[in-house]
Amino acid sequence: MSDEEHHASSFVLFLLNLKRTLGQLVSSKPRERDEAVKQHPVVEQYAADVVDFSSQYGRDYGLCYTAENLKGPHRIYPRYGDFAEAFVTRTYGIWWDLAPSACEPFQRVATRNTSSDFIDILFKKMVFPNKLEIYETFNPGSTVRILAAQVNHEEDSALRWKVLWEGMPQCAPAVPRVYSPQLDRCDFVTSLIRIEFSHRHLSYYTSLDAVRLLGSAETPDPHEMPDPHETPDPHETDGLDRDNNSCAVRGGGGGGGGDGPARRSAYETRRGDDCRSLVDMPEEVIQYIISFFDILDLCRVAQTCRTLCKHCYDAQQFTELDLQPYWHMITDAALAGLAGRCHLMRRLSLSWCGPYHNLTEAGFVRFLQSCGGNLTCLRLASCTEYVTNSSLKIIVDVCPGLTELDVRCCGRLGDEGFAEIARASRLQRLNLYRTAVRTSEAALIVRNCVHLEMLNFDSCSQIANFHEVAVAIAENLRELKCLNVCRVKSVGNNSLVVIAQTCGAALLELDVGWCVEVSSRDGCLVNLARRCPRLRALYLTSIRTINDRDLQAFAAHCRDLEQLDILGSMGVTPIAVAGVLLECTQLKLLDVSYCTCIEFIDVHRWRQMYPEVTIQKSFKNI
C-alpha cells in the first residue's frame, strides 16, 4: 500500500472518529498524552495477507464473505450491516451447538472462554505492536484473544506465541466500531497476528472489515528491553506464565518438580499433628475433585506434592484431552511430556494445535503411536502441518476404534489421505469442511464407512460430481442423520431426490445452502419434505427458487423442524412463512434474510406472535 493511501485512509478515519478522539483526549491523563508524543514514529499498516483461518462464510477463491476480505484498508466502515465485502465466520450463536450434528463436548472444560474461530493475519513490516484496530461492521463484540508470533531466526524452529490481550466477548451495541483493546507490552517485533473470536453470544453473523496494526519499528524503550539472545527458552521456563509454555510441556518423568525439601518437612509436621488434609481423602474423591480442573490447573496442582502429582498424572484424568484452548503451547516436546499419562485416552482434540511447524508430523505420530490405541474421537481442525496422507495412514492403523474424525481445513490432505479415511470403517462422524476431497474418494469413504451418521462436505469444492456420492450415500448409509453439502456446487436436484428416497426417514439435519443447482423445480423440495419427516434443521440458504408450495410442504410434513434457513428466497410470501410458524411448533430459528417478499414489518409482527422463535432478517445500512 502506498503512503498516500495510508495517509488518506487515516485522515478519513480521523474525521470519522473526531468526536470520539476528542472525547478521549480530554478524558485521558496529561501524562499519557505526553507519552504518546514522546514515542517513536508509529508504523500503521493494514493487513497484507490472511495466512490461515478456521472458517469463513464465503467460498474459497471467492470474493463474498471470505477471509481474504480482511486484506487492505477498510471498505465498509463506517457503514453497518451485512456486507459481502467483509469477512464473515461460518457460524454464530448457539444454533450449531443445538443442531443434531453438534459435537459432543469434552468432559474437562477449559476455564478460559474457548474461542470458536481464529484468523492469522500477516503484515508487511515487522513492528513492536502497541495497538491493533479491528474494524467490526456487523454484530461486533466477538474478539476474545489476540496473539503475536515471535520468530526464531533459525529456520524451521518453533514460533513462540505471546498473548497480547485476552478478554470476555463483548455485548456491544449494533453500531460499527473500531475495537482496539489495550495490548500487553510485546518485547519482540512481529508481523504475524492471530485474532480469536467467540461468537456464541451473538444474535447473528459478525462481520469484520479490516485490521490495522500500529507499532514502532524500533524498540519502545531500549533500557527495559531484555537482550533478544537472552530471552529464556520457553521449554525451560519455570512457573506457569500464561503466555509461556506451561508445565504441561514438561516430561512426565520429572513431574511434581516443586516438591522441595522445605515444603515436604512442613507437610510432614502437619501430618504428625494428625491434622486431616486434602490428601487424606479417599482416592476416588480426590480424583473426582480434580476432574473439574482444566488441564493447566491440573498441571499446576501436580507441582504441589507427590500425592496430588500422582493423582493428577493418573491416566484416568486423561481419558478426554482437549488441547485446542492451549494450541499455542503445544509443541513436540509438550506432546512427548503428555504421552506418559495418556495411555487410556479415548477422545483427543488437537484442533488448531502447533501451527507453522510448532508441532511436526513426527511428533504428532509419536504421540499417537504411544497413546492413540483406544481413541474413538479425534479432532484435528486446522492441523494443516501434520495431517497429511502419511500421518492419516498411521491414524487409521493406530486407532482401529475411531468413530469420530474431524479434519476440517486440513488443506494438505490429498487423494491417498482420503482413501485412508475410507479404511476407518467404524466412523460415525466425519467432518471434511474445506478439504480437497474429490468425487471418487468421497464415494469411496461413503461406501466403506457404512455406519456414518454425520457427514460434513461443507465447502468441498473439488467434488465435481456429487451425484456419484449421492448414489453411494443412498446405497450404503442407512443410518445417516446429518448431511452437510453446503457450497458443493455439483449438488443438484437429482442428488437430493436419491438421498431423500432412501435416507430421508432417518435424516435429522440437511444443509444444501448455496448449492446453485438445487431448485424448487419438479417439486424437488416438496418431495424432500415428504420423504424427510424427522428433519430438525434444514438450511436452504440462497436457494432463490423456493416458493410457497415448498414451505407449505415443510409445514405439513416436517413438524419437528427447529431450524429453518431460507435466506435469499425470491418467491416466498408472508402467508407461507406464517404457515410454517404456526405448524412447526418446535421451531426455534427462522432465517428469512433477503427474502424479497418478506418485509421488516412482517418479521416484527411474527416476533411478537412467536417470542420463542428467533426470526432473523439481516440488513445493510448505507
Partner: protein
C-alpha cells in the same frame, strides 16, 4: 485451503524478513478520470436502498482500479427494462462493476484475459446473499503495464476508443442481437428463467492493441457513442493540452455534457438516428440515455 497452499511451511522463512525484491521496470500506467450523468437527473426515485451507490449514474456503473501489473477500466450499462419488474436496473451493473474492482485490487487475474474478469464477477454475483436481478452490457479495458498493451473485452453496445494524435486508432465492436438490443449478461428471477435474453461472458468481443505514451483511451456506455460521432469526440479531446488528472477530469465532464446536450436535441442527426435509419426506422434527434465516460491517458511511470 488457498492460504495453506500459498504458505505452508515457508511462513517462518517469510517472517524472518526475507522480502521478495521487486524488479524496477519502466512501464506505462493510466491516468484516469470518470464522469457521467443519469438520463432523468433528479427524477429517479431512490428505490434500492441495498445497492452500492458509488460510481453509478442512472443505470450505468463504472470503475477504475489498478494493481501492481495492470490498470483496469470498466463500464456497465444496466438494461432499463427491469424497471417494469420492480427491479432497480442499476443494482446489477453496480454490483458487477464493484465486484470487478475488487477482483482487480486482489490481483487474482491475468491481464491478458479481461473476459475472465467479467466471467468471474458474473459468477460472484450469485454468491451474494442479496438476490441480484437484472442485466447489463459491459466493457472492460486492461492495460498490461509490462508489455504496453491494452486488452479489451466488450459485451454489448458499450465500447472503447483509443485516440492517438487526434485520430481513432482502435475501437471495439458493438454486439447486438438486433437493432437497439445489445448482447447482455443477465440474472433472471426464478419465474423468468429461460425467458430473459442472456449471453455468456465468453461471447464478449475481445481485442489486444499496443498503446504508446500519450494515447487517450475512452471507455463509455452507448449514451456517449449514440450521441457523439468519433470526429466530435476527437475534436473535444484535441482541446486537451496536458495529461494532468484535473485536465482529464474536465475533459471527461465536458464530453458528458456535450453528449447530454445533444441527446436532448430533437433535430440533431445523431449516430443513433443514422443507425436507426440504416435499420429502416425513421428517427431523428439524439438518444436520451444515461451517459458514463471513463477517460484515461497512457503515461510513462516514473
Amino acid at each position: 485451503m488457498q492460504s495453506v497452499v500459498k504458505y505452508g511451511r515457508y511462513i517462518v522463512r517469510a517472517l524472518s524478513g526475507v522480502a521478495v525484491a521487486e524488479v524496477p521496470v519502466k512501464h506505462f500506467r493510466l491516468v484516469s478520470a470518470a464522469s457521467g450523468v443519469a438520463k432523468d437527473k433528479g427524477v429517479k426515485a431512490t428505490v434500492a436502498a441495498l445497492t452500492v451507490r458509488r460510481n453509478v449514474n442512472g443505470d450505468d456503473a463504472h470503475f477504475i482500479a489498478s494493481n501492481r501489473v495492470s490498470d483496469v477500466l470498466g463500464v456497465a450499462d444496466g438494461v432499463g427494462g427491469w424497471h417494469n419488474y420492480g427491479v432497480d436496473p442499476s443494482q446489477f451493473s453496480s454490483y458487477l462493476m464493484s465486484t470487478c474492482e475488487r477482483l482487480v485490487e486482489q490481483g487474482t487475474f491475468s491481464p491478458q484475459f479481461p473476459v475472465e474478469i467479467i466471467a468471474t464477477s458474473y459468477q460472484e454475483l450469485l454468491e451474494n446473499k442479496v438476490p441480484i436481478i437484472g442485466s447489463s452490457t459491459v466493457c472492460i479495458v486492461v492495460l498490461d503495464r509490462r508489455n504496453h498493451t491494452i486488452y479489451t473485452a466488450n459485451l454489448g453496445d458499450s465500447g472503447c476508443l483509443v485516440v492517438r494524435e487526434g485520430k481513432v486508432v482502435h475501437r471495439s465492436e458493438d454486439q447486438q442481437h438486433y437493432f437497439n438490443t445489445p448482447f447482455q449478461l443477465a440474472l433472471a428471477p426464478p419465474d423468468q428463467d429461460g425467458l430473459v435474453l442472456s449471453d455468456s461472458p465468453h461471447s464478449a468481443e475481445r481485442s489486444a492493441f499496443d498503446v504508446e505514451e500519450g494515447d487517450l483511451i475512452i471507455v463509455a456506455t452507448d449514451g456517449l457513442f449514440d450521441n457523439m460521432s468519433d470526429d466530435l469526440i476527437c475534436e473535444e479531446l484535441s482541446k486537451l493540452t496536458d495529461r494532468r488528472l484535473e485536465s482529464m477530469q474536465r475533459t471527461a465532464r465536458s464530453l458528458v455534457e456535450i453528449a447530454h446536450e445533444l441527446s436532448r436535441d430533437p433535430d440533431y442527426v445523431s449516430p443513433f438516428s443514422l443507425h436507426a435509419r440504416a435499420n429502416g426506422i425513421n428517427l431523428t434527434g439524439g438518444k436520451p440515455d444515461d451517459i458514463t465516460v471513463v477517460l484515461a491517458s497512457v503515461t510513462l511511470n516514473d
